[in-house]
Amino acid sequence: MANMNLYSRGDKGFVIANMILIGLFALSTLYPFIYIASLSLSSGFAAQAGTVVLTPVDVTFAAYGKVLSEPQFWISYRNTFIYTIGGTVMSLIIIIPGAYALSRPQLYGRRFWNLMVAFTMWFNAGLIPFFLNMRDLHLLDSYFGIIIAFACNAFNIILLRNFFESIPSSFEEAARMDGANDFQVLRKVYIPLSKPAIATVTLFCIVARWNGFFWAMVLLQDEQKIPLQVYLRHVITELSDDEQFAATLIDAPYSVDTVTAAIVVCSIIPVLLIYPFVQKYFNKGILLGGVKE
């Protein structure tokens, strides 16, 4: 209802007040990011003294220098890329064909298979059995374990299946006339027609992988394999108690807080870079479609 004619004289004050309020909300959403960015660029001394509030104080790149000189930072950054790309590709390989098969009317036991998928949204064995299962499968401390174990979930399958089901069968019938089999129908009809839905699922997978931390923390002990988020947690929770690190702080131009802030910034940057491109996919229909079976 963006029609200007629906807006009468007496509403001016209301509309302006609303704009100001929502602008303030946006600013308060943005503020923590600005604060962290400023902190990462401030000197350790200024940060310790609590003088950083909005803009950097005593601008220095020392904290970034410290972060970027840590080999573990690069190892975990590389690992995050491996998990994000490998995991997303694995997800699509499983989810797209699965969703297609589940959308087929001629699939024998279709109700049963669909229920089997949906049931996992309502009932979950929980942390411990999942962990023991991973251990029994010898998937602890394994790149492949992380990539495969989180490749699929009911939500993404159902989202895509619903989208496939909404495609009119006339598209498929034309291809069938030309003698296309299911593999070809999926590849030449359903995938090209489902780009927005596939893009959404891909986005969900990428975000989940990039941000995933809990299971990586639990399943990976080997520092050579941990992703950035686990490294970041290590820095946040343990750096302040780390005596070796504390010793380097004397006379250093950085502090625990500025180093933490610098890693946070380094980890957010890729998200900020792709954010504008994916934003257009926050499409109501797709998000809502996922809720319904």
């Binding site: 609590g50 059995p129 299962n133 029994d136 931390f213 988020q229 946040i236």
Partner: protein, 308 residues
């Protein structure tokens, strides 16, 4: 015998024509069996005296002993209470925010301004829990954090927020609202977009103000969406963002911060009492299942369309 053969022929014909579908389905089904259903089989350790050496099947059954232990444990009861309290508080303070935001977005006439604000408020949804915890810990730090700096300016004493049990919940719920309120408003914006424009047109003819239209048209029109989202939320009552809690809590704040999932994490994965922790998890899962199913039944009755 003839029936049997006929049936076999039908199955063979069906498979000959449609085998590709089953090939496409297989990875999904195998994945669900291996990673989600196999752990359900492993849940039996909740009723066993599990030892790593004897394995899941070899460990002896002990009935409901772990459940007796749990309900006799102050820690578990406390975790259960905290889960419900934190969840309720999140509901009360967190649920209205996206609705209010959506209504406010709807009143913004300048599309560029609207898009810009939306871009900003959706952003925190895409930020990881670890980063949220990093921001919270830094901002609330006792010596250098901005919150204490501002308190100091205003003449208040500095507070060591993250060690104070009474501050844990406000900080946790506040950061949850900061992260999700904007993104959650999308669902309500979609509902508002679906309101019949002629309702507004006739209201304008009657001289209604936008404020009146919001209360008399927009809110009643999106009420079904609000109620469905509320039901879903209540169905997920036991689901508290425990990852953020693990990153933010410490022994000093356990009394207000420890929830069922963090209790399971500590007892199971840190202490190694797998069977007891699995029992706590099973209890959690069963209650959650009942809540979700009840929510679905209610919403079916209410909206005549089930949630799934």
């Amino acid at each position: 015998m003839a029936d049997h053969t006929k049936r076999m022929t039908r199955i063979v014909d069906h498979l000959r024509a449609n085998w590709q579908i089953y090939v496409l389905l297989a990875p999904t089904i195998i994945w669900f069996l291996v990673f989600l259903y196999r752990p359900m089989y492993g849940l039996q350790i909740a009723f066993k005296d599990y030892s790593v050496f004897r394995g899941i099947e070899g460990s002896p059954w002990i009935g409901f002993e772990h459940f007796h232990t749990l309900f006799g444990s102050d820690q578990f009861i406390r975790a259960l209470k905290n889960t419900v309290i934190i969840s309720m508080l999140t509901l009360v303070f967190g649920f209205p925010m996206p609705i209010i935001l959506a209504l406010m977005f709807n009143e913004v006439l300048n599309q560029t301004y609207k898009k810009t604000v939306q871009t900003v408020v959706y952003l925190p949804h895409f930020i990881s829990t670890v980063i949220i915890s990093g921001i919270v810990i830094t901002a609330f730090s006792p010596s250098s954090g901005v919150v204490n700096t501002v308190l100091d300016w205003l003449g208040f004493d500095k507070i060591y927020f993250l060690t104070k049990p009474e501050w844990f919940r406000p900080i946790f719920i506040g950061s949850g609202i900061w992260q999700e309120a904007g993104f959650s408003s999308i669902v309500f914006l979609a509902a508002i977009a679906g309101v019949n424009p002629s309702l507004y047109e006739s209201a304008v003819v009657d001289g209604a103000s936008r404020w009146q239209m919001m209360w008399k048209i927009t809110i009643p029109s999106i009420m079904p969406t609000i109620i469905i989202m509320l039901i879903i939320r209540i169905g997920n009552l036991l689901e508290v963002g425990f990852e953020l809690i693990i990153l933010l809590y410490q022994p000093a704040t356990y009394q207000t911060a420890d929830v069922v999932n963090t209790y399971i994490y500590r007892q199971g994965l840190q202490v190694g009492q797998y069977d007891l922790a699995a029992a706590a998890g099973l209890f959690n899962a069963v209650v959650a299942f009942v809540l979700v199913m009840t929510a679905n039944t209610i919403s079916k009755r209410y909206s005549r369309t089930s949630l799934w």
